[in-house]
């Protein structure tokens, strides 16, 4: 085993879908396992943190880390893996731009904890207990990580070398990335390992999208029948294809749902939501406030629409007027 390049997979604030995408590589991962040595993969293998700590700095050739950073433990693991790895890859939307967990940056920490431990309809908590970072019992101490105020993308915590976008990434992109790693044929640092072009350019519906669109009403996909062959925007559905990086194979469009932006923006964009808003609002019909507003009413949740995966990494990062109550 000794000379094979060491690779680690790790998860932070994520749903498990990214792990699924690794398993989706099917036979390819079995074949790969003859060329690489997996040194950490919590979902599938029994390596421990102390195994990683025992390694020399830079001993791991590459770590693919999925999930956003929300707790002190995730932060600690991200720093440890950064130190031990030559290359750190932010794997999936959450590690790349904060992902779905980043949407909780709209709410104060206390409100989230209160909902999850007390108010949610499915909660059974008769003693009204809250999670504690330390619990003492008969001279023993049990600890839990600190749940932070802010959800962060991986590169808001440690230095990141490459990004693999997607919620979850598709296996072809991941395989390409691993092969590039093994051959040493890597692009410049900071590159997003997916085509740098808008999804529209690869969309089979593009031929039905005219140069000029004027949307007088944004419709919500669950309330209407969607024509499977016509551009979503032409039909009035908020499709983020014009402002989203290609590389997903148009999976949502094939399932007749508009793009929600999980691949993030192209390399010339710094704020995904602002750019997506720009793309969609600019083609609304009307020239008066009233006409425009009535069309925009079809997007009742602009943060959830334009920043579904990108709030943590956005320029504002979170709802800005929540006074933090730091737990340190």
């Amino acid at each position: 085993m000794g000379n094979k390049p060491k690779i680690a997979f790790y998860w932070c604030s994520s749903c498990g879908g990214c792990e699924e995408s690794l398993v989706d590589m099917a036979e390819a991962i079995v074949e790969l396992s003859t060329q690489i040595e997996i040194v950490l993969w919590p979902v599938a293998a029994d390596f421990k943190k102390k195994d990683i700590e025992a390694m020399a700095d830079g001993e791991i050739v590459a770590t693919m880390l999925n999930g956003a950073i929300r707790t002190s433990e995730q932060e600690e693991m991200a720093r440890l893996l950064r130190r031990k790895s030559q290359i750190l890859i932010a794997y999936g939307s959450c590690a790349y731009t904060g992902g779905i967990p980043g949407l909780s940056n709209q709410f104060p920490r206390e409100q989230l904890l209160k909902y999850v431990y007390h108010d949610a309809p499915s909660v059974v908590n008769p003693e009204g207990q809250d999670p504690q970072t330390e619990f003492h019992d008969a001279g023993r101490v049990a600890t839990l990580p600190i749940f932070s105020e802010v959800v962060r993308s991986l590169d808001q915590v440690v230095d990141v070398d490459y990004y693999i976008p997607g919620c979850a990434p598709n296996p072809e992109l991941v395989l390409d990335a691993i092969h590039a790693l093994l051959s040493g044929n890597l692009p410049s640092k900071g590159t997003v390992l997916a085509p740098d072009i808008a999804l529209c350019e690869h969309c089979p519906r593009l031929k039905t999208k005219p140069a000029d669109i004027a949307i007088d009403e944004f419709k919500r996909p669950h309330q209407h029948l969607i024509d499977p062959n016509v551009c979503m925007l032409v039909q009035g559905f908020a499709c983020l294809g014009p402002a989203t990086r290609s590389g997903c194979g148009g999976a949502c469009l094939k399932a007749n749902m508009p793009c929600t932006g999980c691949f993030g923006p192209m390399s010339n964009v710094r704020d995904q939501g602002a750019k997506a808003l720009c793309a969609l609002a600019s083609i609304v019909a009307g020239t008066t406030n009233e006409e425009i507003d009535s069309a925009l009413d079809g997007i009742p949740d602009p943060v959830g629409t334009f920043y579904r995966y990108g709030l943590a990494k956005s320029m504002l990062r979170r709802k800005v007027n929540m006074e933090p109550t730091l737990s340190k």
């Binding site: 720093r79 710094r270 808003l277 083609i283 609304v284 320029m315 504002l316």
Partner: protein, 162 residues
């Protein structure tokens, strides 16, 4: 709020109308609040929502966008494009906790130096009431919960650029 709070307003003025109006206000020696930093753009339609968020993230207390009156845009409908983005962007920043009054859009033609004076004074007064936004300071405060220094290059620029 600090005693002598002087709002910082980043202004994007269209070359053909509002920027000329600001010029006119200048040569006519009209006095108005020294709160705006003006960026000249060829058309208000050039204003990308990213510019607005970037301004707030870098410490602007307000953003003012000035363009030609409807029908007068030199590129025919750049100002309508801006208007549509602006209507959506106001809702977006409001849901992210920025008072919508901090973002303002006005049609000011080349001859309306007085209107420019009035708009800047009004907006300055309004933002004085709201107080400073101080996003770079807030970002730094949020990151005090991290356990070591962060590596976010963009935020380092934000922190040192103000």
């Amino acid at each position: 709020m600090p005693e002598n709070f002087e709002p910082k307003i980043l202004a994007f003025f269209c070359n053909w109308c509002t920027y000329t109006a600001a010029d006119l206000a200048g040569v006519s020696r009209m006095k108005y609040e020294p709160t705006t930093r003006v960026v000249r753009v060829m058309c208000s339609g050039r204003v990308d929502p990213q510019f607005v968020l970037d301004a707030f993230a870098h410490g602007a207390d307000g953003v003012l966008i000035g363009g030609c009156h409807p029908g007068d845009c030199h590129y025919v409908e750049g100002n309508y494009k801006l208007l549509r983005r602006f209507r959506m962007l106001r809702r977006l920043v409001a849901s992210l906790g920025i008072e919508p009054e901090r973002l303002r859009m006005e049609w000011i033609s080349a001859s309306e130096g007085e209107r420019l004076q009035k708009v800047v004074n009004e907006m300055t007064a309004q933002i004085k009431l709201l107080g400073p936004l101080e996003l770079p300071e807030r970002f730094r405060e949020w990151d005090t919960e991290l356990h070591e220094e962060t590596f976010d290059k963009e935020r380092e620029v934000v922190a040192s650029g103000q």
